[in-house]
Each structure stands twice: as C-alpha cells, then as structure tokens.
Amino acid sequence: MGAYWLHCTLCFRAALSQRAAAVAGILTQLAFGELRVQVLMACYALGVAAPGMSRTAAMDYIWLGQAFLRLVPMRPDEDLADAMRTGALANDLCRPVDAYWWWWSRAIGRVAAPTLLRCVPLILLCFALGVLRPPQTLGCALACLDMLVLALLVSAAIRVALALIGDWSGGSNALAILGMPVIWMLAGIVLPLPLFPPQVQQLVAILPFRALLDSPLRAWSGDLHGSALGWAMLHQVVWLAVLVGFGRLLTRRGLTRLTIQGG
C-alpha cells in the first residue's frame, strides 16, 4: 500500500512541474467556457433549452466543467502506452509490485496534478467574475469533493483500461480516438447532461462516463441531493469496481502472453 501511495504522490509531484501547460489550459478553457455559455444562453433566450435546468445552474455547470475538464480522459494512459510500445514495461515487471495497482496509482497522480493546477485558478477566477455560484451548502461541497475524488479514480481506471485495450489491438489507439468524443459528450462537457432528451438520459445515467464530471458538478449545485445523490455515488463506486476489475483482468491475461518490444 505504502509503495503505491508513494508512487502516486511522486507522479503527482513530477506532473506538478508542468505549469506552462496549466496556464495555456486555463486560457483555452476560459475561451471555450465563454463560447459554450454564450451558445447555451442563446438557447435559453430563444426558449429552445429543455426545462431540465435553470439558466444559472447551466452556467455553473459549464464553468465547473471547464475547471475539472482534465478529469475526463483525453487519451489512454500515456506512460503505460509508451512503456508497452518501447518495452520499458520490463522495468515495471522487475519490481515486486502488482502491475495493475502500480499503473493505476501512477495514472491517478498524473491526472490529479493537472486537474488541480487548472481547477483552483479557474474556480477563483469564475468567482471573481461572478459567473459561478459557490456550493449551496457545506453538505453539497463535501459531497462534491467526495465525488470528485471518485471521479479521479474512475478517470485513472479508464485511462489504464484504454491503454491496455490499445495494446490488445496491436498498439493502436484507434479505439481511443474514436471513443474520446463519445466520452466527452457522455461526461457532460459538450452539453450539460440534464439537457439531453429524456430517453437518452436513461442510457446516459447507466453508462460510466457521467461519473467523471456530471455527478460531482450536480452535487456542487445541489441539483443532486437526497437519494439521487446516494445513487449517483453508488453509480461511481460500482463503475470504479467494474473498471478496476476489468483492468486487472486485462493485465493478468496480458502478462501471460506478453512480449517485450525493442530487445
């Protein structure tokens, strides 16, 4: 346990040094956030938007979504994909650690750092600009925090699983490239999930991707409360277990038929 935790924090620390990328990210997300808000507000002004969400709630959702954008996987876990491509994997396997926990703990650290570097300044900036309301209650804030941590764990598990699947299909990231826009859509980045048509929402509620962004965001605003909050958290936990189990299965199968590339 100690080794995995240390691995995670070391990866976190290494990734914290990427400050320039964070600044660039914040500027990009400000621009995209403003764009999305404008489009959505136009819809509200025309009365096109569904009644699932109030104007201000939608605005909160979009800005928070920009702040926590990094929780949504953009590509398979790069460290693992690189290690498999170059054969550096051999080094991981020379240490007495469980391969999956090792990779997963690294992925967590690698996602947590850029997320933190972007979300703190962005949220403060949004507060200052008056485009984001603070959490409704202390309870909402705590629930949101819990769900963000779960979202982080799910995100890392998805990244590792995608890298493992990529290796399975001969080192291509075709699946990742095809899958990413879908994941983005279903996590709630493009359009807040409560604004999806009701039939689609039922499907979206089952799929794992809302655990990445939509659930914690709606906990912040208090939109999710009571039993709905409980169910959303359970949804995260169940999918976390499924994704980790799936990753472990792929790892076990993969290691028995492993070849190390590059001599």
């Binding site: 100690g2 080794a3 240390l6 691995h7 070391l10 620390r13 290494a14 040094s17 170059t86 054969g87 550096a88 051999a90 080094n91 396997l93 020379c94 240490r95 007495p96 650690v97 469980d98 290691l255 028995t256 038929r257 492993l258 070849t259 190390i260 590059g262 001599g263």
Partner: protein
C-alpha cells in the same frame, strides 16, 4: 549447487510479415501474414551460486529474451527454468524481490525526479528494515561514487552517471542474483571501470551470482571465468574463457617487418590481411599449413626486422563463432 537451471527452454515470437511499401501496407489490411520465430530454442544450462558468467551472442541471438525469462517477465512457451528453486514467471513478485535486473538500454529511474526519490520509492517497494536499507544504500553510494548525483533529476545526468545510479537502484535490496543486460553499453572508460569494479566486489565479497550480457569482451576478460555463447536461441559454447580462446586454436596472426617489400609464397591456408612496403600481416590456418613452414618462407624472403606470431584476439574468436553456424 545450481542456482539457475534452464532445461529445454523455448520462447517463440510471432512476427508480422510485411512486404513493405504500399503493397505491403494494403495487403496487410486484407490478410496479415505472420511467421513464428524461435527466439530461444531448446536452451539448457545451469549456473551455480556465486558464479560470474559472461552471456554472449550476436544481436538478436536471444540473450535479452533469456534474461527476461529468468527474471520472470516472460512466460516460456516450452521447457522450464528454475531460479533458487522458484519458477520465475509463476512466482514473479516473490522472485523479483530476491533478484536485481539492469537493462542497459532502458532506465528504471524516474526521468523527471531526483535519483534520491527513486531510491526512496524503492525502499517502500522492498520493505526492508530501515537499518539494513540505510547500510546498503550508503555502501552503494560509496562504491559507485554517486553521492554528487543524488539530488539531480535523472534527465540531467550523463549516461555514465545514470548507469551507476541504475546499478545502485538494482542492488539496493541486496539481491542474491543479478541479471545485467549490457550494463556497459556506451560508457566511457572511467564509468566502465567503476561498473566492473562494483560487480567484481559484489561477486567476491557478497557472493552475488551475476549473469552479464555484453558485447564488450574486455568486460568478459576482466570479470568472467565462464562464458555462455548463444546464437539463434541455441547454445554454441559453455565453458571457461580458455575454451573460448581455444576456439581460435587453429588460427594465428603473423606480423612481419622487413627492410624491403617481400613476396609471399602462396600456400593453402595463408591469407594476406595487409601489406604495404615492408609491413605485412598474415592469417595462417594451422590445419592447412604448419606455422614453422610459413615462418621459414618469410625469413628467407628478405631482411627481417621483426616477426611476431600471435593467437587471434578474443574478439575475432567470438566473431568467427557467431558466423560459423547457421
């Protein structure tokens, strides 16, 4: 007592065959062809505890694959291996806890973090008690002379500096057995000597068994008493360094210096390697012609300043061994 026993070890790889170019690329989309390569082919050997063995073979001979099989990273397709009574791949975690591995061509250190952080991470992985760990760490830092590099991020280290740190990282947990895959590749003389010195001390003072893959035959001459030579995944030679030298027993190099250019009498088994003015180099196959006859011819051919008859260098012996069999 045999510490490592490999019996009839087999590892095959499937390789995709692609004709190359557009035709190959498009053809591969429709029906991809694969061929099977036996990287390790019915390989058997055993190594006793405390031995320091040179593991030689040309590029692609299967050396790295054997090391990965013995380290438990790869699962054999046939045969079996046992290391200290363990089945490496079945028991990977327990196995790698007791061995050290260095792949000279890839780093196990943390690229973005100081070396000291990697060492700290290793401490938490191996869970040795604090006193043992500290003693081992201090000792390695001293032997390898890496104290000045500990605080520097790995990406800022030179290859020689890094390789010393790699070695330390592989030895921190005091393994009973060390697998080294080209640890001296690309190193300058002082770094190479530091690595050699460290290996020698480990082997002598702590009785660590070492399997050393290298293309640097000076490493082998300096360190190893026994060598294993493989090619195409098969064992070519297993024996002392002397046996390796004896492999070139029928070949001699003759170097001659004369006042004026001499005419070489053409004989079977005689090959002129170089000749200019009064300097001449010959290779003699002693199975075809007696060395005495060659020397007699040369002495009669002109006024000789210097004459030397030498056995071939170990490098040449190994090269001929690699090229000899298909």
């Amino acid at each position: 007592m045999s510490q490592i026993v490999a019996s009839a070890l087999v590892k095959t790889y499937r390789r995709r065959v692609n004709a190359g170019g557009w035709r190959g690329a498009l053809g591969g989309l429709i029906a991809s062809q694969t061929s099977t390569v036996r990287a390790v082919d019915d390989l058997s050997f055993s190594i006793a505890s405390g031995e320091l063995i040179g593991f030689l073979g040309p590029n692609g001979a299967g050396k790295s694959t054997v090391i990965k099989l013995l380290a438990g990273i790869l699962v054999p397709d046939g045969g079996s291996c046992s290391v200290s009574g363990r089945d490496p791949s079945r028991d990977r975690r327990a196995h790698v806890d007791a061995i050290g591995v260095v792949f000279g061509q890839r780093s196990q250190l943390w690229f973005d973090l100081p070396v000291a952080d990697t060492f700290e991470l290793l401490r938490s992985i191996y869970r040795r008690d604090a006193a043992t760990w500290r003693a081992s760490r201090d000792e390695l830092i001293e032997i390898l002379g890496i104290a000045p590099y500990l605080g520097r991020p790995v990406r800022q280290l030179s290859l020689g500096e890094r390789m010393r740190c790699e070695l330390a990282a592989a030895l921190m947990h005091r393994p009973e057995l060390l697998f080294l895959d080209e640890p001296t590749i690309g190193l300058d003389a002082p770094a190479k000597l530091a690595v050699r010195d460290c290996l020698q001390r480990l082997n002598r003072e702590r009785g660590v068994t070492i399997l050393l893959t290298t293309h640097d035959l000076d490493d082998v001459e300096a360190l190893c008493r026994r060598v294993l030579v493989i090619n195409h995944g098969r064992l070519l030679l297993d024996g002392g360094l002397e046996r390796l030298r004896a492999g070139g027993g029928h070949s001699r190099l003759v170097r001659l210096e004369t006042r004026a250019r001499v005419e070489v009498v053409d004989r079977p088994g005689l090959e002129v390697l170089a000749q200019e003015a009064g300097a001449l180099q010959l290779r003699v196959d002693t199975r075809l012609v007696a060395i005495a006859e060659v020397v007699r011819d040369l002495l009669g051919a002109g006024e000789v300043i210097d004459l030397a008859v030498m056995p071939p260098s170990i490098e040449e012996v190994v090269a001929s061994l690699y090229l000899a069999r298909p």
